[in-house]
């Protein structure tokens, strides 16, 4: 025994190991798993109301059950600030709110109008929120959106997080996550596009209470999930409605709404994959007679050339979409229109497509310019190209923020149709 003790003491590393085991091991063995004390928030809604901030969360609460069923609950609390409201959620549930798994934040219009940067200060300081935490806007209540989304996921498995990711990739073609919000707001262009999600009334349910999560989808492809409201005699069922609309933020504050068409038109000026659709109405040529042609755009490439001509800033936008005819609607159905050997892309079709794309792109760019919304980061393009000359141009303006209005924008389209 003496020998063993002597040997141990002659090796300091063994002493250290014994010491670590004595001090830390018992505490580590008896400590309860951290997940039990955590309120794991997967989606967060932030509403700004007259009485402060209301946060609502879809939270995962671990529960021992015999069946494989994840226990998600909607929890809501109020506070003066976002931090206070989130902390109150913890007090309410007796757990520590954990935001590392939060992939979605829905915000209401009032918060967007007053500015997201100051409200989201706490969230931006939080490590773990970033690349996959998408922000969505709603003109209704963000709380109701999450309540509906929770019911929808319970009944159909459709997740609002997935809808928001789809929107970013295929609808607005922009990263509207927390990082994107700060990146865009601190950039000289200061503008960002956020996708919107709405609630629509589905009709009166005379039966009284409703448990939500009924059908899925309608003609516009909207997913639905129920939420209850109203009095004793009946309740109104509301469903989620993802129509592809968006809002434009400048320095984190909402400055304008974009309709579905505006968003679609803007997509021409953005590099994208598997997204846009172009419809040619009443189109006739040697192959088609008075048809409605639907062209799908699997790939759209865009080049920007920012330069100065006699000190005037000029931006040339070259749009190069690759298109496929995916649907033809006309009265006379001829079997030839299905023939693969035909080359349907005639000069006339290319010209019609070109004109339509230019008209659509111009219409949305005019709206954006009128609102000083630099969604296409035009500032950075000129600044990178010729910093000095651009600075001179900015100094020549009465208001530097009006820089978009003095830039001549030319659009050119060269499409390929298969």
């Amino acid at each position: 025994m003496k020998k063993i003790i002597k040997k141990i003491f002659s090796h300091p590393i063994i002493c250290l190991l014994i010491m670590i085991s004595i001090v830390f091991l018992p505490a580590a063995v008896v400590a309860q798993p951290e997940s039990v004390s955590m309120l794991i928030i997967s989606a967060l809604a932030v509403d700004k109301n007259d009485d402060g901030i209301e946060t609502t969360a879809i939270a995962y609460i671990p529960k021992s059950t015999q069946i494989f069923n994840e226990n998600y609950k909607v929890i809501s609390s109020k506070g003066e600030t976002v931090y206070e409201a989130i902390t109150s959620m913890g007090v309410l549930t007796g757990k520590i709110p954990a935001l590392a798994h939060t992939n979605l934040i829905v915000v209401n219009d009032k918060l967007c109008e007053e500015g997201l940067l100051s409200s989201f200060d706490y969230l931006s300081r939080k490590y773990g929120l970033g690349s996959d935490t998408i922000i969505m806007n709603t003109s209704t209540s963000a709380k109701d959106i999450l309540t509906s989304a929770n019911k929808l996921s319970m009944s159909s498995g459709i997740l609002l997080e997935e809808i928001s990711t789809f929107n970013d990739k295929n609808v607005i073609h922009e990263k509207s996550d927390l990082e994107g919000l700060y990146n865009a707001s601190f950039a000289p262009s200061k503008s960002l596009l956020l996708a919107s999600i709405e609630l629509e009334e589905e009709g009166l349910d005379p039966g009284g209470s409703s448990t939500g999560g009924s059908s899925s989808g309608d003609s516009s492809g909207e997913a639905s999930g129920g939420t209850e409201s109203g009095g004793e005699t009946g309740s109104t069922k509301k469903k989620l409605s993802n129509k592809g609309t968006a809002v434009v933020l400048k320095e984190g504050k909402k400055i304008m709404d974009l309709s579905k068409d505006d968003v679609q038109n803007l997509s021409w000026a953005k590099r994208s994959d598997n997204s846009s659709v172009l419809t040619l109405q009443n189109y006739s040529d040697e192959n088609f007679t008075n048809s409605t042609l639907t062209l799908f755009v699997p790939k759209n490439r865009v080049n920007f050339d920012a330069h100065f001509e006699s000190q005037k800033p000029i931006l040339n936008i070259s749009i190069m979409p690759k298109m496929q005819i995916v649907e033809v609607n006309q009265e006379l159905i001829d079997k030839d229109i299905y023939a693969s050997q035909y080359k349907f892309a005639t000069e006339k079709m290319l010209e019609t497509v070109k004109n339509q794309i230019i008209t659509q792109t111009k219409s949305i760019l005019d709206k954006l310019v009128a609102n000083n919304a630099d969604i296409l980061n035009i500032y950075q393009k000129f600044d990178s190209k010729d910093t000095r000359q651009f600075e001179r141009y900015l100094n020549s303006l009465e208001n530097r923020d009006d820089y978009l209005k003095g830039i001549e924008i030319n659009i050119d389209v060269s499409s390929v149709i298969d």
Partner: protein
């Protein structure tokens, strides 16, 4: 003097010393000062580091059999040597404390938010002390073992970022102008890591290829570091200031790990290894400086090292619980005061280099003199031989 490490192991220690403090909070701090121009700050720091390495290498190569303290005592006397060793001790203690502070903040954020500081300090000191206690040979061999893991992990991480992340253009550059130089000076405390090499003087076994090995590994480290800063600035084009734990946050923004799951462990394990090695290195150097300062005649080297290690640990703990309590204090101390310490170390380096250069010139003159007298002797011999033949 006993040669405990070879040139390759020494080069690998140099490789490890380049990172850690530069991969966590520094990118964010530099970004807040000069934006995307922080890339030039890191290039500037790398150039200064490399120049300091050249000076040190010149001195090391020409003094392979004596320690740094012996070298100094020989040329500037014991009093000034001890003064320089005190300066180095202070520098390494502050570097060690800065490292522990930054590592704690990083670990708290990415591993365990409610971890008490004492637990982290205990772990860090335990690892660093064991690396010191096992002496430079074991330290070098451990570094040699981990080098391929770190190198491949880091290179894979950067390659993954370059291939998958959404990189934004970082132009226009040079918008901060002269601020770049003042920022290099303000944050100089985190650079100059090659100074540790001085305290390894006399322990390295140089061979024919040692310069190639050393230059190769150090340049590789600098290339990795600069690429990391480029990736960081490009991903966080306007939000660099917001990302205090740069290396972990860059991983989060790579789409590939996003698909495969949380790849945080890649950055966390990389940083933990680097923190441990750098902690061990700083403590090793601080301890060596301490041994040279308190060299008692009647105490053997090993016993002396244990006592000084205990002493350095106490100072580190005191520093950690007094002036290194918050991140802001830590940063302010570095920016306002520690930069002058770096200036002092640069001055030491220059003094050491000029001493060696003077010695080199002296030897050169002697050699030239010897060779001249040799030629005269040859001529005389030839003359004598010719005379004999004539006779």
């Amino acid at each position: 003097m006993e040669k405990t490490i070879n040139a390759r192991q020494f080069a690998l220690i140099g490789f490890m010393s380049v990172f850690s403090l530069k991969l966590v909070a520094l990118p964010s701090l530099l970004f807040s000062r000069v934006g995307a121009d922080s890339l030039f700050i890191i290039i500037g720091m790398a150039i200064l580091d490399f120049l300091s390495f050249l000076l040190i290498y010149f001195v090391l190569k020409r003094n392979q059999d004596i320690s740094f303290y012996q070298f100094l005592s020989k040329h500037i006397g014991k009093f000034f040597s001890k003064f320089i060793m005190i300066l180095l001790l202070v520098a390494f203690l502050f570097k060690m404390s800065t490292l522990i502070g930054s590592a704690y903040l990083y670990s708290q954020e990415v591993i365990f938010q409610r971890a008490p500081f004492i637990l982290f300090l205990f772990i860090m000191l335990a690892i660093s002390n064991s690396l010191v206690l096992f002496k430079s040979k074991s330290y070098a061999r451990t570094v040699e073992f981990f080098y391929p893991i770190i190198s491949i992990m880091f290179a894979a991480f950067i390659l993954m970022a370059l291939l998958t992340a959404e990189l934004n253009p970082i132009t226009p550059l040079f918008k901060s102008g002269a601020k770049i130089f003042s920022t290099i000076f303000d944050y100089s405390m985190v650079s100059g890591d090659f100074v540790f090499m001085l305290l390894f003087m006399g322990k390295i076994k140089f061979d024919k290829n040692s310069s190639k090995t050393l230059f190769g590994h150090l340049l590789w480290a600098i290339v990795l570091l600069i690429t990391f800063y480029f990736v960081n600035n490009s991903i966080f084009r306007y939000t660099g200031t917001l990302h205090r734990d740069a290396i972990s946050e860059v991983v989060q923004f790579l789409p590939l790990p996003g698909i495969l799951g949380n790849f945080d462990w890649l950055a966390v394990s990389l940083m933990m290894i680097l923190f441990s090695f750098q902690g061990g290195l700083f403590l090793l150097c601080a301890n060596q400086a301490c041994v040279d300062i308190f060299r008692f005649k009647n105490m053997n080297e090993e016993k002396m090292q244990k006592w000084t290690l205990f002493f350095t640990n106490i100072i580190v703990i005191v520093l950690m619980y007094t002036i290194f309590q918050s991140f802001s204090d830590l940063r302010l101390l570095g920016v306002n005061y520690l930069k002058y310490l770096t200036l002092a170390i640069i001055a030491i380096l220059l003094v050491v280099f000029f001493i060696e250069l003077a010695k080199f010139n002296k030897n050169d003159k002697k050699l030239i003199g010897n060779s001249k007298s040799g030629k005269k002797k040859d001529k005389l011999n030839k003359f004598e031989v010719a005379n004999e033949k004539n006779n």
